[in-house]
């Protein structure tokens, strides 16, 4: 299950509303924000593909200006894929 740390940049005047909207997305946690409109968000998804879709969802929220990835961990996804890889080889 990949985990990603993001800075979501929202319009500072609509910070509270945007955070409320963000929180509606399942697998998304808001960890903090500042008055400049930076919101610290952690996404947890079943696959990279699913996370990509979540990012697209966030982009569509009103007053969201940008989404920036700062941290990305896929260790267990790689493990799973490696496991599967091994299986197919043998």
């Amino acid at each position: 299950m990949p985990i990603g740390g993001f800075i979501v940049n929202v319009h500072p005047d609509h910070l509270e509303n945007s955070i409320r909207d963000l929180k509606k997305i399942s697998g998304l946690e808001v960890y903090g924000s500042d008055e400049k409109g930076n919101v610290v968000v952690v996404l947890e998804a079943d696959s990279s593909k699913a996370m990509e879709e979540m990012v697209e969802k966030i982009m569509k929220i009103e007053n969201v200006l940008s989404v920036g990835l700062t941290y990305f961990n896929v260790e267990d996804e790689i493990e799973i894929q490696e496991e599967q890889g091994k299986k197919t080889i043998h």
């Binding site: 593909k49 700062t70 790689i78």
Partner: protein, 117 residues
């Protein structure tokens, strides 16, 4: 794996356009050889980041010989944005009473270290 390869560059792209600005990809110093690591920070940074060097040199930290690694750590423990605990090593009283939600450098700009912004 295939998807990942697609996802990562696209996310990096997003990152580049986001409002965070000139964000460094990871909290890491560019790779250096062991020999290169035996160089005082300022030796390179006087050229690599001349403005920052100049600001630091003229600041109370520069005059008082508070060096780069005291805030940013060394290669094994490097932080582009210092941990505030390293401020607290010397400024623990100020650290304890600083306003909530503010970083030290919100009010004391990094490398200038004026009393207040």
């Amino acid at each position: 794996m295939k998807r990942l390869k697609v996802l990562l560059p696209s996310l990096i792209l997003i990152l580049c356009f986001c409002a965070v600005g000139s964000v460094v990809w990871a909290d890491k110093h560019p790779e250096l050889s062991d020999q290169e690591k035996l160089t005082a920070c300022a030796t390179c940074h006087i050229k690599a980041t001349p403005d920052i060097y100049k600001e630091w040199f003229g600041s109370v930290h520069g005059i008082g010989n508070v060096k780069c690694y005291q805030c940013h750590g060394t290669y094994e423990d490097f932080h582009v944005t210092p941990k505030e605990t390293s401020c607290a090593s010397c400024h623990s009283a100020q650290f304890a009473k600083k306003p909530k939600g503010k970083t030290c450098w919100d009010c004391h700009p990094a490398h200038h270290f004026f009393i207040h912004k």
